[in-house]
């Protein structure tokens, strides 16, 4: 069972960057007024940020990281680890990690690589970064996490199009002997891999002139090509409201702590009703569960650090916080971490482009 603690790592700062272009749910003309109102009430997305041509996850994350490194006053030569969490990298190959190493003018002694996860990616990324930091005796690490999911959504698919937003984030992690431990539990269930997927364009279903660009209309009236993101909303909903509370309780039991011991529970911003159901099942007070989904939509692996930046900002800068973070979705993959932050550097959100 993947339940474990890592001592000796601390978060020194978190930053986030979003495209300045805003799309409003109320302007989405494929939904009736009633549908839009129900969507805003249920799913929670009122607006989201969308990249234009020429702006990628790499750009958003590098901009966020540049700001963070400057505000922290970090010596770039001391950054020896860069982990890039994304499912929307710049090129088929190489990955984003090495390009980010160069763009951020980091040393050639820095190990840099990608992890291809979405909604659970931030939690996995923290566990990988902290593990390597400890094992390799590295002083400073960067965790970049983000996606531009809007590029792969079909305008004719109401279950997907108004849900996703684009964002890139950077988290600064340091070796530290006085910050307590981070406790994790991590899970996978690949039997649900089709619940959230882009079917074509990989090696299994290679891009084909005959089928990859052809729109197909499904029974619910939504229409998309196999190069678009497809969601089985009800199955993901059912999975999340079952597995997430179970896994949260498990980590609390492992740590011998209770809900009351934490200042905030930051859930992946998937769907407001889903997160509210999780919150109610766990009996967490409303003011302990912040939301950024109304302004930014579902931003994949960026959603947890983005929510820290936009919803906790000043509190994270001025306080010692006990946080419980939970990511869940595409894979299917899910996981939690409990950790403390102490007066972190957390600049205001950056608008790009």
């Amino acid at each position: 069972m993947a339940v474990f603690s890592i001592p000796g790592a601390k978060i020194s700062g978190i930053s986030a960057c979003v495209p300045s272009e805003i799309r409003y749910t109320k302007n989405y003309d494929r939904m009736s007024e009633n549908e839009k109102n129900l969507f805003i009430k249920t799913v929670g997305v009122e607006s989201r940020r969308v990249t234009g041509k020429g702006m990628t996850t790499l750009d958003l994350c590098v901009t966020a990281a540049e700001k963070l490194i400057t505000e922290l006053g970090w010596n770039r030569n001391e950054i020896e680890l860069l982990v890039f969490i994304t499912q929307s990298k710049d090129y088929y190959l190489p990955g984003n990690g090495t390009i980010a190493q160069d763009k951020l003018r980091l040393s050639r002694n820095c190990m840099a690589f990608d992890i291809g996860l979405g909604c659970s990616g931030y939690i996995y990324g923290l566990s990988v970064a902290a593990s390597i930091l400890r094992a390799a005796g590295i002083k400073k690490a960067l965790l970049l996490a983000g996606d531009i999911s809007t590029v792969n959504t079909s305008y004719e698919d109401k279950s997907v199009f108004p849900l996703f937003g684009d964002a890139g984030t950077a988290t600064a992690i340091e070796n530290s002997s006085d910050s307590g431990k981070w406790s994790f539990n991590l899970f996978s269930d690949g039997s649900g891999f089709e619940s959230i997927m882009i079917p074509d364009g990989g090696m299994r279903n290679r891009i084909s002139q005959d089928s990859s660009f052809v729109y197909r209309t499904f029974e619910n009236g939504n229409s998309r090509t196999p190069l678009h993101l497809a969601l089985k909303g009800i199955d993901i909903f059912n999975f999340s409201i079952g597995e997430v509370p179970r896994s949260v309780r498990e980590l609390l039991a492992f740590e011998n702590r209770t809900i009351g011991d934490f200042d905030y529970f930051i859930l992946h911003q998937a769907n407001k009703l889903m997160n509210e159901t999780i919150r109610k099942k766990l009996g967490i007070e409303k003011n302990k569960v912040p939301y950024s989904i109304q302004k930014f939509g579902n931003t994949s692996s960026a959603s947890i650090p983005l929510t820290v930046v936009t919803e906790l900002g000043q509190k994270a800068r001025e306080n010692n916080l006990s946080l419980f973070l939970s990511g869940f979705g595409v894979g299917l993959s899910w996981g939690n971490v409990s950790l403390n932050t102490n007066h972190i550097v957390c600049p205001e959100i950056i608008n790009a482009g």
Binding site: F39, K232, G233, F237, L273, E276
Partner: protein
């Protein structure tokens, strides 16, 4: 387990556009105006929080009336208790 009238009241309370007293056990919820997958999510969330029963997409597709949905909850509840015993 509470009766079907309680269940109907709970559903009516969840949906602003449904006036109280307009649903009955035979109502086919799929034929309601503007029925969408979002309504299905609201119902799944309601059933999970109120009755501790989790329904997936397949369960939801297998029923159309409120009575069928209510009976499904009852059936799942019995199975679950059996497992817990």
């Amino acid at each position: 387990m509470s009766d079907i009238n309680d269940f109907i009241k709970k559903i009516e309370a969840e949906f602003e556009e449904i006036s109280p007293g307009s649903l009955n056990p035979g109502t086919n919820f799929r034929e309601m105006k503007d029925w969408s997958s979002m309504h299905a999510l609201i119902i799944i969330a309601l059933i999970d929080t109120e009755y501790g029963i989790s329904l997936n997409g397949e369960h939801m597709r297998s029923v159309s009336t409120i009575k069928e949905l209510f009976d499904l909850i009852g059936k799942k509840k019995v199975t679950q208790q059996h497992i817990n015993d």
